[in-house]
């Protein structure tokens, strides 16, 4: 194989490298619609350029012809992939079914077959030969009818793709226009060069400028990637947002006819898009005729029936669409389903009304305060209790609302509640009414928190407990009085018993001494046997005995009185034990038997055998 140098080699090589680079960059972004197609295109271009480079570098006919044929592998891919890219980039991938792609590939495969079997039929090119052009040999090819068919097909594909891009460009916002223009330019440049070449209008003989123009294509894409954010964001993604959003979007023209709508809007209106487009807006949304002031308000609430007939609430927003001369060209309507939030709003309103009603009508005072202690809400009862108007309480600090001493308690309690998060109950304070009466209040404090759980203030209930306090004080006094009376009685009984015991001591003591003296000294000294004397001695002895016995009985009585007073004052030690009732009766009879005997009275005892024992304290 012989090599030659041609001035076209270097630029051709540069084109090859640039195209390969763009292919790599595009492949890295292949998740973005159209980027993988671009990678294939640039790979094809790279192959085409490389084949052309090698064709120029080859000095003999066989090699040149081989590279000439070889470059068509890339060429065949270009137009087809450009169309694929156009469809993907503009969000029309649904056309790219396997069947459609296969059909589009048929022509390319036929062309390649025709090229490589050209020797048999000469349909692709009729002749080829080397001619000397300046310092190097160039391949002169006489193109056949199949080539023209192939070219026409390529141009058809390219033109379709360009039209798709053009349509997208005209409908897109500014941001995408530069991208789209660059993509179109990248195809228009080689297309123009190719037209020049195949029509033999090229200024350079035998030189196909098409592969060279790919240098510009590559540079365009490189600029697009780095300056225009090409393939970072594509219109396809933007369209899918509109298509998939849950809010309905309707576009009407200046005649109030619907020109476009997204699937959500069709669902809201309950008809397929096809049945809606081109209809007057009032025909599908009769409520529109009543919304006269939409142009000034821009938004309103609207109720539309759902397909099942239940009413649903929508927030309708309208934007005017104007041209560059600020003339109205249409309107965009956006329908947002707010049924759920409307319902929860209604519930909230009901709950708020309930709260307000309750706060207004309860007899207890209810307050709310912010974290600094300023009253933010005072219900009617609180105002009545403090004898102030609501405006005199709300916005005022608690320390101006109650007495200074109590204000400190309350503010201390507030900070305690804030620090611990625990509510305080039963905080008591005093306040003086205008009529100088002192009242007692019982206050509760709990922490108010916002939705995020952050403390925002305090709230609680204040109850006038003056009556309860008074009753409590009266009860305490009554108890003290009763206890004092009981103590006085106890002290009195103790004194009485003491005062009684002292003379009793003398009475019993002396009576016993007299007994002793009589027995020991006096009676033995009486010698007279006179019956009268003997009777007197007997009587004196008996009488003194009675004095002693009665004295002892009196002592017992006094002790019993003392025991009773002990029981009453609660100083008695109770020892609760099982006690047999018959036994108690037995002891009682034994203790009093002498009295019965003395009075000659019979004792009748009747105790049931089945009498159960009981629990009691026996005082001996």
């Amino acid at each position: 194989m012989h090599w030659q140098y041609s001035p076209y080699i270097i630029p051709q090589l540069i084109s090859t490298l640039i195209s390969a680079s763009v292919a790599v960059i595009a492949w890295r972004r292949r998740v973005v619609p159209g980027a993988s197609a671009l990678a294939v295109i640039m790979l094809g271009i790279s192959q085409w350029s490389l084949a052309t480079t090698l064709q120029w570098a080859s000095a003999d006919f066989g090699a040149q012809l081989f590279w000439f044929k070889f470059r068509f592998f890339g060429t065949e891919l270009l137009s087809l992939m450009y169309l694929v890219m156009a469809l993907q980039y503009t969000g029309r991938s649904q056309f790219l079914t396997r069947r459609n792609l296969a059909l589009l590939l048929v022509m390319s495969l036929l062309s390649l077959s025709a090229l490589w079997t050209n020797d048999a039929h000469h349909l692709f090119f009729s002749s080829a030969q080397l001619v000397q052009s300046g310092s190097f040999a160039a391949l002169d090819v006489e193109l056949g009818p199949w080539f023209w068919l192939h070219t026409a097909y390529d141009y058809l594909l390219l033109t379709s793709a360009l039209l798709i891009f053009l349509r997208a460009l005209l409908r897109s916002p500014q941001f995408y226009r530069a991208q789209l223009a660059a993509i179109m330019l990248s195809a228009v440049m080689p297309l123009s060069a190719n037209i020049l070449f195949v029509s033999n209008l090229s200024p350079f003989p035998y030189l196909d400028l098409t592969p060279l123009s790919f240098t510009l294509t590559g540079i365009t894409y490189l600029l697009g990637f780095f300056r225009l954010h090409m393939w970072d964001i594509t219109p396809a993604a933007r369209d899918s947002v509109i298509e998939n959003m849950s809010d309905g979007i309707i576009v009407v023209n200046d005649q109030q006819r619907i020109v476009d709508l997204n699937p959500a809007a069709a669902r809201i209106l309950g008809k397929p898009s096809k049945a809606i487009i081109a209809q007057p807006l009032v025909a599908v949304m009769p409520q529109w005729s009543q919304l006269n002031d939409m142009d000034t308000l821009g938004q309103t609430d609207l109720t539309l029936p759902a397909p099942d007939g239940t009413p649903r609430d929508y927030a309708l927003r309208m934007s005017r669409v104007t041209d560059q001369h600020n003339r109205l060209t249409g309107r965009v309507l956006m329908l947002q389903d707010v049924t759920a939030s409307k319902q929860s709003e209604a519930k909230l309103r009901l709950s708020q009304a309930r709260f307000e009603d309750m706060a207004a009508n309860i007899t207890d005072s209810y307050y709310e305060a912010d974290l600094t202690g300023v009253v933010t809400f005072a219900n009617a009862a609180f105002c009545r209790a403090l004898e102030r108007a609501q405006s005199e309480l709300e916005g005022h600090h608690f320390r101006h609302v109650v007495d200074r001493q109590d204000a400190r308690h309350i503010i201390d309690a507030f900070s305690r509640v804030y620090q611990t998060g625990q509510p305080v109950k039963g905080l008591e304070y005093q306040f003086v009414r205008r009529d100088k009466t002192k009242r007692f209040a019982d206050m509760s404090i709990s922490l108010m928190r916002d939705g995020a759980g952050q403390p925002i203030g305090f709230r609680g209930v204040v109850r006038d407990v003056s009556e309860r306090k008074q009753v409590e004080a009266e009860l305490r006094q009554a108890r003290t009085d009763a206890e004092a009376a009981s103590q006085a009685k106890g002290a009195f009984l103790a004194t009485v018993s003491h005062e009684l015991r002292t003379p009793l001591t003398s009475v019993i003591g002396f009576a016993k001494l007299i007994q002793k003296r009589l027995d020991d000294v006096i009676f033995p000294a009486i010698t007279s046997d006179a019956p009268k004397t003997q009777r007197a001695v007997r009587q004196v002895r008996e009488n003194v005995d009675i004095i002693v016995k009665e004295g002892e009985r009196l002592t017992t009585l006094i002790n019993d009185v003392l025991d009773l007073s002990k029981i009453e004052s609660g100083k008695m030690d109770w020892k609760l034990l099982p006690v047999s009732v018959p036994e108690v009766i037995e002891r009682a009879i034994a203790a009093t038997a002498s009295l019965f005997t003395h009075k000659q009275l019979p004792i009748i005892r009747a105790v049931d055998d089945a009498l159960p024992s009981t629990v009691a304290t026996v005082i001996a």
Binding site: S497, R501, L504, T505, S506, V507, G509, F510, K512, L513
Partner: protein
Amino acid sequence: MDTKILIVDDEAHIRMLIEQTLEELSDQGVEILTASNGEEALATIKSEQPNLVFLDVMMPKMNGFDVCHTVKHTLGMADVYIVLLTAKGQELDKQKGKEVGANIYLTKPFDPDQLLQISREVLGL
């Protein structure tokens, strides 16, 4: 050795009763002393150092508890046998008597024979 018994009571009748009860001890040579209030009793105890004291609780000027406490604790005369006599028969008083160091606690009205018996035991007669 002189044996002395002191009788302390503001009631003259009670003093007399006890004196007469202890008459037979007096016959045996025991000296019977009397005092009619707490201060007098304390002075007599200090000067005479009796072996046995019958001490009434409820008295003017100085009550029996205080006298007993002073003798037993302040004066340190632990050898003096003190019998507290009281008309108050309550538990609280018995406890108080124990606290101030009384040897025995007798409730009025007492039995004269018991008094005599206690005296004989204490004095070893």
